[in-house]
């Protein structure tokens, strides 16, 4: 049995402070700030929350820490941590929990202070006896190995990957909350400091603080609130490996499984998406996900993004907030991708608003192309 298309809706969505937050702020401070904003957004109170879903790299038992901070005793909770896609997974699990009657108001929350405390401190890596001694710069080298293989097999170029960074920057310049404020060119990306060939520092996501929260309720409950509900039409998720050495095919991700699951549940296709949010941890990742989710054939992703196709005014509205590359990347970006999808469908994206957006896809990636989770949202008239 799968969850029912459109039976739950996002009624509240909010970012926490982003970028470089105040000194001594904690990940849980940011989660709580976002939770409060998301609850105000939909007119619900903290006492209404009975489902809690959260993860962060900086807190070992995030649901405990957040429940204590909020002063609530949730009857249902999920601390699944599979990296940056955790929150898409939480949303899918919250959907099932609400349908099963295990909770009625589910809050999904994230917070990170990785810029304030340094990435090394925020995300210590586990020792892997078959990788760590070889000193990869993780996660960058893992994505570089995927990119190099994609270039070898399909003729994808560094310029095509740079297009992803340049388009993200153009979108970011229309987002007042974006970290990056200056234009970026293809040459800037190509000539930037190389980290792990073929990826330069401009092919890599930002290192920022940040967080966010979503409030999810049943469709019936959503209709009683004074909000524009954004319905959950479909989702899919899968795990394929933990270490890059064990990825079966470096150029095919689990999105090839999560995407078709989500589209089948929603009964729609990539062509129906008005807004597409693909986790851009590195410039190669949206290229892989465009292929694996079915926006273009395998191997065509580099050509697909060329010529400004995913920049403002292009053929596909992709990563309209500026993405992890230029807007905000606190380490587990998936939450912020879903918030942008929801805000676009509510018509709240300001200068970067996609006119009349009715359906949006948010795809999350975690680890080293390891966990892949896809969510499709729609406005009331799509249900």
């Amino acid at each position: 049995m799968t969850s029912k298309r459109g039976s739950v809706a996002v009624v509240g969505a909010a970012e926490s402070d982003l970028g470089r937050v105040a000194d001594h702020m904690t990940p849980i401070d940011l989660m709580a700030q976002a939770v409060q904003r998301a609850l105000v957004d939909c007119g619900l109170r903290l006492q209404d929350v009975d489902g809690l879903f959260t993860a962060t790299s900086q807190v070992r038992m995030a649901p405990l820490a957040l429940a204590e901070y909020l002063g609530i005793r949730p009857s249902y909770f999920d601390g699944t941590n599979i990296g940056g896609s955790s929150f898409m997974s939480h949303l899918a699990h919250a959907h099932a929990a609400i349908e099963a009657g295990l909770c009625s108001v589910a809050v999904i929350a994230y917070g990170s202070t990785q810029r304030s405390v340094s990435r090394a401190a925020a995300s210590p890596r586990e020792y892997n006896a078959y990788e760590t001694p070889y000193r990869p710069i993780l996660p960058t080298s893992a994505y570089a190995l995927s990119a190099a293989r994609h270039m070898h097999l399909y003729g994808t170029t560094r310029e095509q990957m740079a297009e992803v960074a340049v388009a993200a920057r153009q979108w970011a310049l229309m987002n007042p909350k974006a970290w990056e404020k200056e234009p970026l060119t293809i040459d800037d990306v190509l000539s930037a400091r190389m980290i792990s060939d073929p990826l330069t520092v401009r092919d890599c996501c930002l290192v920022t603080d940040g967080g966010g929260a979503l409030v999810l309720v049943s469709a019936e409950k959503a209709r009683d609130l004074d909000v524009t509900p954004i319905y959950v039409l479909g989702h899919g998720e899968t795990l394929s490996h933990a270490s890059i050495s064990s990825m079966e095919d470096l150029t095919v991700t689990g999105a090839a499984q999560s995407g078709p699951q989500a589209f089948a549940m929603a009964g729609v296709t990539p062509a129906d998406m008005d807004v597409t949010i693909l986790y851009d941890a590195f410039t190669i990742t949206p290229i892989l996900f465009l292929e694996d989710l079915g926006y273009c054939p395998k191997g065509e992703g580099g050509r697909f993004v060329s010529g400004g196709a995913i920049a403002p005014g292009g053929s596909l509205a992709l990563n309209t907030n500026g993405g992890g590359l230029s807007y905000c990347h606190p380490g587990m970006y998936g939450m912020l991708g879903m918030i942008e999808a929801v805000q676009q469908l509510r018509g709240r994206s300001g200068k970067r608003q996609v006119d009349g957006a009715r359906m949006a896809l948010a795809h999350g990636n975690g680890g080293v192309l390891s966990s892949q989770c896809t969510v499709i949202f729609g406005t009331a008239d799509t249900v």
């Binding site: 078959y130 990788e131 990869p136 293989r149 190389m194 792990s196 050495s245």
Partner: protein
């Protein structure tokens, strides 16, 4: 001294990684096969997808570069980090030792050697080109 292992009749006396290192110390690249003969890596107590007991084997040590990145640690020469496809059909992360790492290419044929990757560490497999490229 107190025996803290308290091994029972069914306890294992060696971990998969322990056995791998024992082979590596002899200059052997050990890997495992499942009941169908399919090679896999890294070593495990059970064969993935099957759940059966794996069998151990030793690689001939030849293969090809499957993918490659030059890792740029600050203040160091670029490090050639590669995924190597061994001819038996399994893949591992390793280094390719080369005077000119910029000239390494995916598909290049390589052969295994063993050396410690840091002071005081046990020997681990690394690779070098088997033939000069034209």
């Amino acid at each position: 001294m107190k025996d803290e292992t308290q091994l029972t009749e069914n306890s294992l006396t060696q971990s998969p990684h322990g056995r791998f290192l024992e082979h590596a110390a002899r200059g052997e690249l050990a890997f495992q096969r499942d009941s169908t003969g399919r090679a896999f890596f890294p070593p495990r107590l059970i064969a993935p997808k099957e759940g059966t007991d794996p069998t151990w084997d030793v690689s001939v040590g030849t293969g090809a570069i499957h993918s490659l990145t030059l890792v740029r640690h600050k203040g160091e020469a670029p490090l050639a980090l590669a995924m190597i496809d061994l001819d038996e059909g399994f893949r591992i992360m390793s280094h390719v030792d080369a005077a000119d790492p910029e000239n390494l290419r995916i598909g290049d044929r390589v052969k295994v050697a063993f050396r410690p990757l840091a002071d005081g560490q046990p020997p681990m497999p690394v690779f070098a080109l088997t033939e000069e490229r034209a």
